[in-house]
């Protein structure tokens, strides 16, 4: 009648949290802030997010990623613009998504199931980092990258909204 219990237990595996913390700590180290402030800020964000998700239930739980994003943002703004920090910044964000997928309130294996989505994000990071390595840096390149990113997202959002409203006959919120 019923199948065997899922070997992966509920409660979220500590592996994703450990991986997330480790990558953020390394990113904090390479940022180069004095007195190991980088890893401290990064890990503080990770711990705050973990505690938030552990304590909150319902809609408040959704906001658990916020402290980690703030910490990553602080580190990113202080980081030198070299390929290593850029790669580690992208990896930190991917690790954040992996940790977010491994939610203890949901059936186990969220990280495994989210591989497709995280791979899509990883592909975007990989393309961007490859461009950094291959295209010489110029003044104004960051403005161009920001504008391109914004334009691309707007186009994708418009396409998705159109598809959702066509599929259901009603306007979707995406």
């Amino acid at each position: 009648m019923s199948g065997p219990a899922d070997p992966a237990r509920f409660g979220g595996s500590g592996l994703t949290l450990a991986a997330f913390g480790a990558i953020v700590a390394v990113f904090g180290l390479v940022v180069g802030l004095p007195y190991l402030l980088g890893p401290v800020v990064g890990l503080a964000g990770v711990v705050a997010s973990w505690a938030w998700r552990r304590r909150r239930a319902g809609a408040g739980r959704e906001l658990g990623v916020l402290p980690a994003i703030v910490a990553l943002g602080v580190l990113a703004l202080a980081a030198p613009a070299v390929p290593a920090t850029e790669l580690l910044g992208g990896l930190s964000a991917l690790a954040l998504l992996l940790w977010a997928a491994d939610d203890p309130a949901r059936p186990a294996g969220g990280g495994r199931r989210a591989v497709g989505e995280i791979a899509t994000c990883g592909l975007a990071v990989a393309v961007a980092w490859t461009l950094v390595l291959t295209v010489p840096r110029r003044t104004g390149a960051i403005d161009l990258a920001g504008a391109l990113l914004a334009a691309l997202l707007l186009i994708v959002a418009w396409l998705l909204t159109r598809e959702a409203s066509r599929g259901t006959g009603a306007g979707a919120s995406a």
Binding site: A101, R106, T120, I142, L160, S165, A172, A174
Partner: protein, 431 residues
């Protein structure tokens, strides 16, 4: 003739997705403003993730089989259910959040257990008072593993009925209500009829056997009347449930109504077991009634009628209730009124029922025990305020005693006041 099945609405982003897009946009703006390209690399996956999640939403929506049930006794309610989804693999991404009905509180948070292609969930609720209420079927959602996009799934689930009754209703089963005749003047005879001792006379029905017609009484009254014999007949009782809202607080009124429904069905069930003929009426804006009858079939009819009752949006006038009741039940019947009305006694149902010839008996559930502490007052002053409110209520209800006996029902898990009243020599004899 049925139209196409309604399609569930399309996918939508969750709060987390909007949060990520907002944070990503802020990071992009900061990166451009502060010339910090690393922030762009953090913003990129954060911004792409909601769109990637939207692309992974299954189309068409998965089909889901949802079932749930409630168990437990007393205040304890254990809710358990299963969700099965198709195509295979979707069940792990399904979510549901059953919410307790008014008057119930969650004591154990929702637990999910994935077993093969079946998602099992369980939770525990605690009922604050006896109730006969209905838990709405929960929405089932497909949500992507990152928790960024979700899509409602048509689970076609049925609601959950929760029935809990005060313990004293069992004692009502041993109560044997006397029955008197509809026409004035109780008559006893030493002759035994076909179905027992002669009991009285009543209006003859069109299909009445000639042998039952009381010709002398018919000649006297000028219309056909028939003999009635004491068979297994005991008393008749009409239960009238007041579904009018008494305050602005909708949730509180739902709880009061749930309590009234539990009392109505509990009392009806107990009395039907002792072969009392029970009628039921509910009054919100208009009156709905189930005529007097007895038996198992009637119990199902009553259960259905009581469970169907909903809090009225508009309160009908009490006079309408009394007038309408006359169309369904003859005057002189004992009418058990379950009404939380605690305003002016002259505006309640009881005086009007009395004027229409019914013999009302009021059971008035108090709202005071349902009022939560809001922390505005210190505990001592809160206790004092509650005492004053209780006294005020007692004074108000005392005014109703002019028209009918009143049971102030403030200890919900006990109906001792009503049982004691019905066991008294005066009220055993009902119409």
């Amino acid at each position: 003739m049925s139209g196409p099945a309604p399609q569930p609405p399309g996918f939508r982003w969750t709060g987390r997705a909007y949060l990520l897009v907002g944070a990503g946009a802020l990071l992009v703006a900061s990166a451009v403003a502060l010339r910090a390209p690393v922030a762009l690399f953090i913003a990129l996956p954060i911004l792409v993730a909601p769109f990637a999640a939207s692309a992974f939403v299954p189309r068409p929506a998965p089909s889901v089989a949802f079932s749930w049930e409630a168990d437990g006794s007393g205040q304890d309610v254990r809710v358990a259910g299963t969700i099965r989804g198709r195509p295979a693999g979707t069940v792990a991404n399904l979510l549901t959040r059953p919410s307790p009905p008014a008057g119930a509180a969650v004591v154990e948070p929702l637990r999910l257990e994935l077993r093969g292609e079946e998602l099992r969930f369980s939770t525990r609720w605690r009922l604050r008072e006896p109730t006969m209420t209905f838990a709405e079927p929960p929405q089932v959602l497909w949500r992507d593993p990152l928790g960024l996009a979700e899509q409602p799934v048509d689970a076609s689930a049925a609601g959950l009925s929760l029935h809990r009754f005060p313990a004293e209703v069992r004692r009502l089963r041993t109560l044997r209500l006397d029955r008197t005749i509809a026409l004035p003047g109780e008559t006893r005879s030493r002759y035994l009829g076909r179905s027992g001792e002669f009991h009285g006379i009543r209006d003859a029905s069109p299909s009445e056997p000639w042998g039952r017609i009381n010709w002398r009484a018919s000649g006297r009254l000028g219309r056909l009347v028939a003999n009635e014999y004491q068979t297994e007949l005991t008393g008749d009782l009409v239960i009238l449930l007041d579904e009018r809202p008494g305050s602005e607080d909708r949730e509180l009124e739902e709880r009061v109504l749930g309590l009234g429904r539990a009392a109505a069905y509990g009392i009806a069930d107990a009395l039907l077991r002792s072969k009392v003929r029970v009628g039921y009426a509910s009054f919100g804006e208009f009156l709905e009634a189930v005529p007097l009858s007895t038996g198992r079939g009637h119990r199902v009819r009553l259960l259905d009628a009581i469970a169907r009752g909903r809090l009225a949006s508009v309160a009908g006038p009490a006079e309408r209730c009394a007038n309408s009741l006359r169309r369904f039940f003859r005057p002189g019947l004992t009418t058990l009124v379950l009404s939380a009305w605690d305003g002016d006694p002259a505006l309640g149902l009881v005086p009007y029922l009395r004027r229409q010839g019914f013999l009302p008996l009021l059971v008035s559930p108090s709202r005071l025990p349902m009022l939560e502490r809001d922390g505005a007052l210190p505990s001592e002053e809160e206790a004092l305020a509650r005492r004053l409110l209780r006294l005020d209520r007692r004074i108000t209800l005392a005014g109703t005693w002019r028209f009918a006996p009143v049971v102030d029902w403030d200890s919900y898990w006990s109906l001792e006041g009503l049982v004691a009243l019905l066991r008294g020599p005066t009220h055993r004899r009902v119409a």
